[in-house]
C-alpha cells in the first residue's frame, strides 16, 4: 500500500475534509455548489494577497506593507477614475504600476540598507498608510464609475429556483493570479532563483543570481498583486475606504505560513497557501451555516488556528523523523 506523505498540504487537506464533513452533517447546505462558490468568492482578495506574500516568504523576506500598498494604489486609481474619467485599462494599469513601484521601493531600501525586509516594510507601511489618511483626510470615494462597480459574471449555473452559482470577476482574477504565481514559482528559472535566494542568499549570489533583480521582482510582484487586490476589493464593495484594508496584514502572513511557507525562506508551495486560505474560509462559512453566534466566531477560529498549526507542526516533525529513520 502506498504511504501518503505527511506534508503540510496533506495534513491541511485532511483537516479541510474533516471540517467539511462535520459542517455537511450539521447543515447539508454547506456542500452545495452555490455555497462553495460564494465561500471562494469571499476569500478572493485574501488569496490574491496570500499569493504575493507567499512569493516574498519563499524569498526569505516578510512584507507587511501590502495592505498599505493596496490602499494607496486603490485610492490613486479611484481618484483618477473619478476626477479625470480614466478608462478601465488605463486605471487598472495605474493601480498595478503604483503597487509595483511601492513594492520596488521596499526592495531597494531592503537591498541598499542591508536590513531584513520586515523592518523596512513596517516603516514603509506606517508611512504609506499614514500619509494616505493624512492627505485624504480619511475620506471615502463613493462615486466610482460604473465599469468598476458593475458585477461581471462569466458563467452562471442554476440549480434550483433561487440557488445559483456565479463565476464572477473576483473568482476569475483570483484563479488567474494563483495559476500565474504557481507557474512562475514552480516552472520558471525566476521562480527557482527566488527559492534559491530564500534558501541560502550567499550561495544563490555565488551561483550568479542577481539579488537586487530578484528582490525587485519579489517585492514588486507583491505590490502589483496588492494593486490588483485593491481594485478587486473596491469592485466587490463598490467604494474606496482608505482604512478598509488596514489591520489584515498579519492574518495574511499567518495564512501563508499555515499553508506551509516558512518564515525563514526557501520553503512553500502555492497549493499549500491556497489550502491555508481555504481552511479559514470553510471555517468562517461553516460556523455561519450551523448558526454559531457571530460574537463567538473569533473564539472558534482562534481554537482552530491553534489546533491546525499544532497538527501540521507535529506532522512535519513525524515526517522528519521518518526521513531520519529511512536514512539510517
Amino acid at each position: 500500500m502506498p504511504r501518503i506523505a505527511l506534508t503540510t498540504e496533506t495534513t491541511l487537506l485532511a483537516l479541510i475534509v474533516l471540517l467539511a464533513a462535520i459542517f455537511t452533517m450539521a447543515n447539508p447546505v454547506f456542500l452545495t455548489i452555490p455555497n462553495l462558490v460564494g465561500l471562494v468568492e469571499a476569500y478572493a482578495v485574501t488569496t490574491i494577497f496570500g499569493s504575493g506574500v507567499f512569493v516574498v516568504l519563499v524569498a526569505g523576506g516578510i512584507d507587511i506593507s501590502f495592505a498599505a500598498t493596496a490602499a494607496v494604489s486603490q485610492y490613486v486609481a479611484a481618484y483618477f477614475a473619478t476626477h479625470y474619467g480614466w478608462p478601465p485599462l488605463q486605471t487598472i494599469a495605474l493601480a498595478c504600476s503604483v503597487g509595483f513601484a511601492l513594492g520596488a521601493v521596499n526592495a531597494f531600501l531592503t537591498h541598499s540598507l542591508r536590513v531584513v525586509s520586515i523592518i523596512i516594510t513596517i516603516a514603509t507601511s506606517s508611512i504609506y498608510f499614514s500619509l494616505l489618511i493624512h492627505l485624504t483626510g480619511g475620506s471615502e470615494i463613493y462615486n466610482l464609475p460604473d465599469w468598476w462597480t458593475t458585477p461581471i459574471v462569466f458563467a452562471r449555473f442554476d440549480f434550483a429556483p433561487g440557488a445559483f452559482a456565479k463565476i464572477n470577476l473576483p473568482i476569475v482574477t483570483m484563479l488567474v493570479v494563483v495559476v500565474v504565481t504557481h507557474v512562475i514559482m514552480a516552472h520558471t528559472r525566476l521562480g527557482r532563483q527566488v527559492y534559491a535566494l530564500g534558501g541560502n542568499p550567499e550561495s544563490a549570489k555565488r551561483l550568479g543570481v542577481r539579488v537586487l533583480g530578484v528582490q525587485v521582482f519579489v517585492y514588486g510582484y507583491l505590490g502589483l498583486l496588492a494593486g490588483i487586490a485593491g481594485m478587486v476589493q473596491a469592485h466587490r464593495v463598490g467604494q474606496v475606504v482608505p482604512t478598509a484594508l488596514q489591520g489584515s496584514e498579519l492574518n495574511v502572513v499567518a495564512v501563508a505560513i499555515l499553508g506551509g511557507a516558512s518564515l525563514v525562506g526557501g520553503i512553500g508551495t502555492m497549493p499549500g497557501v491556497v489550502l491555508g486560505v481555504l481552511l479559514l474560509a470553510i471555517l468562517q462559512n461553516g460556523l455561519n451555516l450551523i448558526g454559531v453566534s457571530s460574537y463567538f466566531f473569533e473564539v472558534v477560529i482562534g481554537v482552530v488556528i491553534l489546533f491546525s498549526t499544532t497538527a501540521t507542526a507535529m506532522a512535519n516533525r513525524r515526517a522528519a523523523n521518518l526521513h531520519l529513520r529511512a536514512a539510517k
Binding site: A123, I133, G302
Partner: protein
C-alpha cells in the same frame, strides 16, 4: 557559532560584557544606541529651532512622560518574545482582556458610597485577578509554543484571535467603565511633577533590563533567540525558559492594561489595536533584532523617547497625528541609514590606516 560561554561557568556581570563584545563583533545590529543618542538631540534641536521657547519646556517633557508608559509597556511585552526569537501578537488582546476583567470587578463592587477599606479591598482583588489572568494566558501561550513546536507567530495569532474573540463575546463588543479615583490617579497623578505612570514604567523597564542583561535567565532568553537547538544541547531547559518569556510578556500586558484602563477610565475589546505594529516598530528602532537573539532594553527606552518626542513636537506644530505616525516610519529608515553610513565610514577609515 560560538555565542559565549556556558551560563554556569562565569559570573553574570563578566559574562554579559563578553557576550556584548562577541555580539557586536559578530553582527551589526540594525540600529545601536549611539545612533539613537545622535538622533534624539538632533530631533530636540530641530523642534527647538522650529518653535523657539515653545518646545523646550517642562510641559513638553511632562506630556512625553504621560504618553510614553502605555506604548512603552506594550513594547517591552513585545521585545522579550522578539529577543527569544519569537513574537507576541496577542499583547493588545491580553492587555484589553485583563483590563476588562479588572474594570468588571471594580465597577460591580465599588460605588460612590463604598467605604474606603472595601474600596481598597476590591481594587486589590481586581488587580490580583488581572495579574492571575495574565499569568494564565502567558503559561498557556508559552506551553503551546514550547511543547507544540509551532512558530510563535502562529500560536499568538491563534491566542490573539481567541482572547480577543472571547472578550468581544463576553462584552458583546461594548466598553466597560466606572473606576475609583485611586485607580485613575495611576494615569493622571504626578509625584513631584513626574507622572506616576512614568515612574512605574521606569521601575519596570529597569527591572526587565536587569533580568535580561544581568541574570542567567536573561542570557538564556538571548541564547534561545540565537539558536534554540544549540541552547537546548548546551543543557538549558529551553521549554521552561520559553514559557517564562511569554509569562513575563503577558504580565507586562497586564501592567499596560492597568495604565490603559486608568487612562481611558474604561476598558473594551477593541482598544489600542494600532499599537500592535507600532510596538514592533519601537522595538526595532531600539535595535532589537526581529529574528531574535539581540536587543537591549536601554535601546528600546531611547527609541520610545525619540518616538514620543517626535509626536509631541508634531502636536505642538499643529500637525496631524497621522503625519507623526508617518514620520515614525521615516525615522526608523533614517536611523538605519545613519547607522549604515557611520559603519561604512569607519571601515573606510580602517582601510586607510592600513
Amino acid at each position: 557559532m560560538n555565542r559565549g560561554p556556558e551560563p554556569e561557568q562565569a559570573s553574570p556581570g563578566l559574562m554579559t560584557g563578553q557576550i556584548n563584545g562577541i555580539v557586536s563583533a559578530l553582527r551589526k545590529s540594525s540600529v545601536n544606541n549611539s545612533t539613537l543618542l545622535i538622533l534624539w538631540p538632533l530631533i530636540i534641536v530641530t523642534f527647538t529651532v522650529l518653535m523657539p521657547g515653545q518646545f523646550l519646556q517642562t510641559g513638553t517633557a511632562q506630556s512625553i512622560a504621560f504618553q510614553l508608559p502605555e506604548l512603552g509597556l506594550l513594547s517591552l511585552a513585545m521585545v522579550i518574545p522578539l529577543i527569544s526569537g519569537g513574537l507576541n501578537l496577542a499583547i493588545i488582546a491580553t492587555a484589553n482582556q485583563t483590563a476588562l476583567l479588572m474594570v468588571w470587578i471594580m465597577s460591580a463592587h465599588i460605588t460612590a458610597d463604598t467605604d474606603p477599606a472595601a474600596t481598597w479591598f476590591w481594587i486589590v482583588v481586581a488587580l490580583g485577578s488581572g495579574l492571575a489572568l495574565s499569568v494564565a494566558i502567558g503559561l498557556s501561550t508559552g506551553a503551546l509554543i514550547a511543547f507544540g513546536g509551532v512558530h510563535p507567530i502562529l500560536v499568538t495569532l491563534g491566542t490573539m484571535t481567541f482572547i480577543g474573540g472571547l472578550s468581544v463575546y463576553l462584552t458583546r463588543g461594548k466598553t466597560l467603565s466606572g473606576l475609583p479615583d485611586a485607580v485613575v490617579w495611576i494615569s493622571n497623578g504626578t509625584i513631584a511633577w513626574v507622572p506616576v505612570s512614568f515612574i512605574i514604567f521606569c521601575f519596570v523597564a529597569f527591572g526587565i533590563h536587569i533580568v535580561m542583561a544581568r541574570t542567567a535567565t536573561g542570557i538564556r532568553i538571548h541564547m534561545i533567540g540565537s539558536n534554540l537547538e544549540a541552547t537546548r544541547y548546551s543543557g538549558v531547559n529551553t521549554k521552561q525558559s520559553l514559557i517564562l518569556v511569554y509569562v513575563i510578556s503577558s504580565v507586562l500586558c497586564w501592567m499596560a492594561g492597568v495604565i490603559m484602563m486608568a487612562r481611558f477610565n474604561s476598558a473594551g475589546a477593541d482598544f489600542a489595536q494600532s499599537y500592535l505594529l507600532i510596538s514592533v516598530l519601537a522595538a526595532i528602532l531600539g535595535g532589537v533584532d526581529p529574528y531574535g537573539g539581540f536587543g537591549r532594553i536601554s535601546g528600546l527606552f531611547l527609541s520610545l523617547l525619540i518616538l514620543q518626542t517626535v509626536s509631541s513636537g508634531f502636536n505642538l506644530l499643529g500637525l496631524s497625528a497621522q503625519l507623526a505616525l508617518a514620520s515614525w516610519g521615516a525615522i526608523l529608515i533614517l536611523a538605519i541609514a545613519i547607522q549604515r553610513s557611520v559603519e561604512w565610514r569607519r571601515t573606510n577609515v580602517d582601510r586607510a590606516r592600513r
